[in-house]
C-alpha cells in the first residue's frame, strides 16, 4: 500500500507541437496519492492537450512522464490504464444503450471459459458492479439499468465508477460538473472527496471555482501552454486564481 503522500505521477518538461503550433511548452505537473490537483486555464491554454498526453492519447514532442518514480512511454490509452491511470472524459464516454454494469466493464469484461470459447460472465459483472457502486456510495436502482435512463449526475457517477473499477491510482477528470444540474454537482464532488480518502490521486480540470475550492488541495494554472502559477489552496484565493486564468499575477 502506498504511503499517503507518495508521488504517483510526474510530468517533466512536456512540450507538444501540432505542426507549427505550440500547444504545450515545458509544462511540469505532479500528483501525490490522496491529493487532488486542480488544473485551470482559459480555453486554448492547453489543459485538454496536457490531459491527452497524460492519458496516452497524444505523444509529447518532448518531455517525460514518470509513474511512481519510473519513466513510462505511453503509446495508447490502454498503456495508461494498465499503469492505473484513468480518464473521465467530458462527454462521459458511456454507451447509453448498455446497462450500467456493462459500461463499467466495457472493454475489460470478465468472462468464463467453456472449452476454447469465452462467454461474458454476466453474474460476475453484476456482483462486481454492485460491490463497486456500494463502495463509492453511488445509488442506482439496479446495475441492469441502461445508462440512457439515468440523470446527468448519475451518469457522471457511473463514469467515475468506471474509471476506478480497476484499482486506479490516478484519475483525471475533465470538467466533471460541467453538464450537471446544480443539485447534482454536490454529489459528484462528494464522490471525488471519497476517492481521495481511498488514496487515489485526482486531477480535476474545471472552470468552476466552486469545484476547485471544494475538492482540490493544490491548484495550477496554464496560460498559453505554459505553467503560469501554482499554489496550495490554503495560500491562494478565488480572485487570485481567476486572475491567473486571465494571465495576471
Amino acid at each position: 500500500m502506498s504511503t499517503s503522500n507518495e508521488l504517483l505521477l510526474e510530468a517533466k518538461g512536456i512540450t507538444k507541437y501540432f505542426g507549427t503550433i505550440t500547444a504545450l511548452e515545458n509544462v511540469n505537473l505532479k500528483v501525490h496519492a490522496g491529493e487532488c490537483l486542480g488544473v485551470v486555464g482559459d480555453n486554448g491554454a492547453g489543459k485538454s492537450t496536457l490531459m491527452k498526453v497524460l492519458s496516452g492519447l497524444y505523444k509529447p514532442s518532448s518531455g517525460s512522464l514518470h509513474f511512481q518514480g519510473k519513466e513510462q512511454v505511453l503509446n495508447s490509452p490502454r498503456d495508461s490504464q494498465i499503469l492505473g491511470l484513468e480518464m473521465v472524459y467530458q462527454d462521459l464516454a458511456l454507451a447509453g444503450n448498455l446497462p450500467i454494469g456493462e459500461n463499467i466493464f466495457l472493454g475489460r469484461e470478465p468472462t468464463k471459459n467453456l472449452g476454447f470459447l469465452k462467454f461474458l460472465d454476466f453474474k460476475k459483472i453484476k456482483e462486481l458492479t454492485n460491490a463497486h457502486l456500494d463502495k463509492l456510495k453511488i445509488n442506482v436502482k439496479s446495475a441492469d439499468q441502461k445508462v440512457e435512463e439515468l440523470s446527468g449526475g448519475q451518469r457522471q457517477a457511473v463514469a467515475i465508477a468506471r474509471s476506478t473499477a480497476f484499482n486506479a491510482k490516478v484519475v483525471i477528470m475533465d470538467e466533471p460538473t460541467a453538464a450537471l444540474a446544480i443539485k447534482e454537482v454536490g454529489k459528484v464532488l462528494d464522490l471525488i472527496n471519497g476517492l481521495k480518502k481511498t488514496g487515489v490521486g485526482v486531477i480535476v480540470i474545471s472552470h468552476r471555482m466552486d469545484d476547485i475550492f471544494t475538492v482540490c488541495d493544490r491548484v495550477m494554472a496554464l496560460f498559453q501552454g505554459t505553467n503560469f502559477a501554482e499554489a496550495e489552496l490554503n495560500n491562494t484565493s478565488r480572485d487570485e486564481v481567476i486572475g491567473w486564468i486571465m494571465g495576471k499575477k
Binding site: 490504464q81 462527454d91 462521459l92 444503450n97 472493454g107 462467454f119 435512463e149
Partner: protein
C-alpha cells in the same frame, strides 16, 4: 401504495414489450391469415413453403442487422450473394468436387464483406452507405463478368442440399409430404449461433457498444475499426450462405439473383425493431421481421392479391412498425 405497485408493474412490463412486442405482431398476423385462409395457411405444405421462401433472405437480413447495430448500412448484400452464386456456378461447371463447390460462396462472400470493411475503415469513407453503394455495383458487375451475363444451371445434389434438401419425418409417423426443409434447420442453427455471438461474447457486446457510442468504445480501448471489419466480413459471409441456399433452391446461378434484396433485408431489420442510429435491436426481432415479410407475401399470394398491392402493404408496414417503435420509446425513456 397501490398506485406505486401499478407503476412498477408497468415499468417492469416495458422491457418485455420492447423485447417481445414484435412477436405479438407476428402472432397477430398468423392469426389473421389463418382466419382468412383456414384450410391452406397453416397447412404443413404452406408453412414449410414460407420457410423455404425466407431462407436466403433471412441470412441477408441477419448480416445487415449486425451492420445496422453498429449504426452502419450494407447495401451490397444482394450483390455479394449474386457474385458468390456466380462463382459457385462457374466452379461447379468447371467440375470441381462438391465439397469445394460449397465452400466457394462462403469464402467469396466473406472476402466481399472484408473488402467492404477494409474500404470503410482504411479509405475512411464518410459513411458505409457510400462504400457499399459502390460495391453494390462492383460485385454485381463482377458476377456478370465471370459468368458472361448468362444463367448457369445444373448442380449436384450435395451442392443443393442446404437449399433443397429434405429431412424425412416418416419415422415420427408423419406422411412423406410432411418433411422438414434442411434450410429451416439451417436458419435455426445460424440464428442461434449469432444470438449467442451477439449477446454472450465480448465482440458481440462491443458491436452494440460501438452502435451506442463509438467514442465510448474507443475510450474503453476497443479497436473500433477491427470490430467493424469483422462485422462487415460476417455480413458478407452470411450473404455467401444465402448464395449457397439460393443455389440449392433454384439449381442455377442467374444474373438477377438477389436484385433489390438488400432493401428487403433492411426492411426486415427495421420492422424487427433495429434502430438506424445503432445499438438497438435483437436477433429475435430480425427473425420476426423476416417472418412478417415472408408471411405477408405468402398470405397475399394465397389470396391472389396482386404483387403491386404487396409492395404497397410492405411499405406501409415499415412505416407503421417504426411508428410503433417511436411510441414505444416515448413510453420507455424519461423526459
Amino acid at each position: 401504495m397501490e398506485d406505486k405497485n401499478k407503476e412498477s408493474l408497468h415499468l417492469k412490463l416495458i422491457p418485455y414489450f420492447e423485447k417481445y412486442g414484435i412477436l405479438l405482431l407476428l402472432v397477430l398476423m398468423i392469426l389473421v391469415m389463418h382466419i382468412l385462409q383456414p384450410d391452406v395457411f397453416l397447412s404443413w405444405r404452406n408453412v414449410t413453403n414460407v420457410f423455404k421462401q425466407i431462407s436466403w433472405q433471412s441470412m441477408l437480413a441477419l448480416g445487415v442487422f449486425m451492420v445496422i447495430v453498429t449504426a452502419g448500412i450494407d447495401l451490397s448484400v444482394g450483390s455479394i450473394m449474386m457474385l458468390s452464386l456466380m462463382i459457385l456456378a462457374v466452379v461447379a461447371k468447371a467440375g470441381a468436387p462438391w465439397f469445394i463447390v460449397v465452400m466457394t460462396p462462403l469464402i467469396a462472400g466473406f472476402l466481399c464483406g472484408l473488402f467492404n470493411g477494409l474500404g470503410i475503415t482504411l479509405l475512411r469513407m464518410p459513411h458505409p452507405f457510400i462504400m457499399t453503394l459502390g460495391t453494390l455495383y462492383i460485385f454485381r458487375g463482377a458476377g456478370n463478368l465471370i459468368s458472361g451475363g448468362t444463367p448457369i444451371s445444373g448442380f449436384t445434389d450435395e451442392v443443393r442440399y442446404l437449399g433443397h434438401g429434405r429431412i424425412d419425418l416418416q419415422w415420427l409417423g408423419l406422411e412423406k409430404s410432411q418433411y422438414l426443409p434442411v434450410s429451416l434447420v439451417l436458419i435455426a442453427i445460424v440464428y442461434i449461433i449469432f444470438w449467442i455471438f451477439l449477446n454472450h461474447s465480448k465482440t458481440g457486446k462491443w458491436i452494440y457498444a460501438i452502435g451506442g457510442n463509438p467514442n465510448a468504445a474507443r475510450a474503453s480501448g476497443i479497436n473500433v475499426n477491427k470490430i467493424l471489419v469483422i462485422v462487415y466480413s460476417l455480413c458478407g459471409f452470411l450473404s455467401g450462405i444465402g448464395a449457397l441456399i439460393l443455389a440449392g433452391r433454384t439449381d442455377s446461378g442467374y444474373p438477377n439473383a438477389g436484385l433489390q434484396s438488400e432493401l428487403d433485408a433492411i426492411a426486415a431489420c427495421i420492422i424487427g425493431g433495429a434502430s438506424f442510429f445503432g445499438g438497438r435491436g435483437t436477433v429475435l426481432g430480425v427473425f420476426a421481421g423476416v417472418m412478417i415479410m415472408g408471411i405477408l407475401r405468402n398470405g397475399l399470394n394465397l389470396m391472389d392479391v396482386s404483387s403491386f398491392w404487396q409492395q404497397v402493404l410492405i411499405g406501409s408496414i415499415i412505416v407503421l412498425a417504426v411508428y410503433i417503435d417511436v411510441l414505444r420509446r416515448d413510453l420507455g425513456t424519461r423526459k
